[in-house]
Symmetry: C2
Subunit: 495 residues, 2 copies
Amino acid sequence: MFVKAITPRDQDYSQWYIDVVTKAELMDYAPVKGCMVIRPYGYALWEAVHDGLDPRFKATGHVNAYFPLFIPESFLSREAEHFQGFTPQVAWVTRGGGEDLAERLAVRPTSEAIIGPMYAKWIQSYRDLPVLINQWCNVVRWEKATRPFIRTTEFLWQEGHTCHRTEDEAEAETLGILEIYRDFVEGTLAIPVLVGRKSEAEKFAGALRTYSIEALMSDGKGLQSGTCHNLGQHFAEVYGINFLDADGQLKPVWQSSWGVSTRLIGAVVMVHGDDRGLVLPPRIAPIQVVVVPIPSDKEADLVASGVASVREALGRAPAGDGLGRLRFKVDDRPEYTPGWKFNDWEMRGVPVRLEVGPRDVKAGQVVAVRRDTGEKLKLPADPVTLGGTVTEILEAIQGNLFEKAKRFREENTREAASLAEIGEIMETGRGFVLAPWCGGDACEADLKEKTGATTRCLPLAKGLSSSAVTTPAPGTKCSLCGEDARYMAYFARAY
Amino acid sequence: MFVKAITPRDQDYSQWYIDVVTKAELMDYAPVKGCMVIRPYGYALWEAVHDGLDPRFKATGHVNAYFPLFIPESFLSREAEHFQGFTPQVAWVTRGGGEDLAERLAVRPTSEAIIGPMYAKWIQSYRDLPVLINQWCNVVRWEKATRPFIRTTEFLWQEGHTCHRTEDEAEAETLGILEIYRDFVEGTLAIPVLVGRKSEAEKFAGALRTYSIEALMSDGKGLQSGTCHNLGQHFAEVYGINFLDADGQLKPVWQSSWGVSTRLIGAVVMVHGDDRGLVLPPRIAPIQVVVVPIPSDKEADLVASGVASVREALGRAPAGDGLGRLRFKVDDRPEYTPGWKFNDWEMRGVPVRLEVGPRDVKAGQVVAVRRDTGEKLKLPADPVTLGGTVTEILEAIQGNLFEKAKRFREENTREAASLAEIGEIMETGRGFVLAPWCGGDACEADLKEKTGATTRCLPLAKGLSSSAVTTPAPGTKCSLCGEDARYMAYFARAY
């Protein structure tokens, strides 16, 4: 009954996505336009993102703090480019405590403009550097067209804001965090990503350089999944964040900012999900294993003892990836049939189902079904080995999901030498196109208008060890305008 | 130099508090009136509150979720008493996306009005109950007079919102959470609390009954430190949260809501702090032990080897209270003197300081100084036993801080038989007054006007095992008006 309710992906991908996120109870629509409720099953995924990233931030010397939700307009408007970039999306508080406010307050769309003035107060000397602060919070950006998790008026994120003595240090921080994002998104969310620099048109308003991780959804559209900005000294100059260096000179600090958001949950849905619903990588699945007893009126005690034995074995098993105990649930609700439960838990993306029926107990076995492949396995119901066997299956699923997504991305990454070719790809299989580009704004705008594709990123020549971008062979022409190419670029239609 | 900068408590308690929270870098003032920045050292205390409470909530079946920041005015106003209670404090968003909004949006002061309509959608049958959801988030209540952590326009909190089939279940949930609060605040924050029911005048706007934990600050003023509301069926009726019971009847659910906030950090400061600054209970101290080398030009290597050995020993020691490894820091900054560091770390409330000088290394010892008592102890610098010895000292400090605060509360809890007596107590030592009360609103208002004291709570007769409040012996008269007393009540001036 559930499976039928999910629209097939090839019939209507957008509706499939909405069906999955609502029916798997990841979210629900709120009575405020563009806002959503993150339901417990969806929020557990955000907790997994927090629990994966936060220790990585802390291990690299970052600390958490909390800055105010409200930013006075005069603070937001100090940095003109930044203000221009965000003001169309700002929600404004104009009344509080029963009175009209003398100055309206922006609900933060991002926090550079409130953090900058604080850093200006706190930082005096080179001894105060680096400042490595992150915050987990909500932000608001008024959106016209919204999509759950992917683009919502309010969303949850973390935003890191750091200050450094030199440009090199700020750049190393920016790339270091991008590597943390890549490692987490690939290793835990099982989503392969491209790492690269954003084009001038696509970079953060006010930044010197923006880097991002870019993922490919199963409909061939790209999704920017995390960004790191080297802010240069731009905000420092505007907000007066200066330090007395060892040479006695007063200098503006070099800054970075970086963030990932609840959008990552949308990425998990669109990369791994299928026509039966959600497919969750075991490392972030709130429930990794569901145990479904196959009831038998005659042999109820036998089934109960089999379930008890499985429960005990799983209770001793590790979750994998150092995340504590295996997360499992026994679904012994009498009011639902096993078949209904199979569909329901598949729809919710639980990686492994264990079935325990009278015949299984007699045969000393448990039937395991993998969510990713549908494969059925008969496992010995040995209380000593069962937990370890299940953990191994979970790790196999984790690896398979990543490999599958990577294969899909490789199959859907194409080269192209002309605008026409890119246009044709965007009209058919979509995916990423790697092509030489002159770097011109006009070309980029033309591409977007004619094909719907945008510049996702300029790949880095040496991965995350250096900020150098890949350059085409001398004489290579821009795929868009035919002038000399300066960059290789990934283009895609994107969310 | 730091110690001098803190105003003594008996000179100006309010200024002492501000000095401590700013100089220990728990917070800083934000450029928005009534808002504050929670700096990393202060935010680490909030993380400790989260890490203490969240597992307790989860162990009792609660799950986290996230509801929108914005509540349309029409939703907030549906429950008249609730709206009346909160509307004077609401911040209103009237403009978004470059347009005036058709309906203004409240920045949530609390989330009953946005959660209720969602529960009405999600709950159909008694099988859907109980619903046990919590969220960690920011809320905004426009305040005229603010004080860091204690009363700020924006603050962080957790708010639990639950739905139940029966009144008894809702009441058991309400008291069960109050017990979790009590256990955490007493056991981890080392703050003794009174548990009791709020008077009608002091209860949550729209609730059936409110319970609270009440702490006593070192200036003799009370602080409501956590509240649990049995909401009855009031909000369920307004928002249409009905379920089909097993008997085929459609019934409104019974609800509870409950919360603690960043106010708890203010309580820690005001209960344990002294004229030298902050004093942190070891179980929440971000840094439990600071190691200060006493440098020696001639014997630098000796000191370095002593510090290395201490570092290694502490690295293997547990933090106590099952919270992982001991949290320690070696302060080997060459630009500060040991004396300066002693003062600085004392001001920041670090529970134990270990001093390692050349004479100590030669004598095979480490000097430990307790922040709570100032006591100096010579500990054998044995790498095998040192960690355990330090952990024991930390647990002793934890216990001592609780006992000391409890003694202070006991010494400052008095009985009184008349308004005049209460007034005199409030003008002198303050503290809690336990007195018989008729329960009348007029008496309560009179008390407040004449003495500044309010009803903190009506103590529970059987602790948290029952909601019955303590009643006075028959014939006892109200200490305020002389009519028959119905309750025993704790009165105090409060923040």
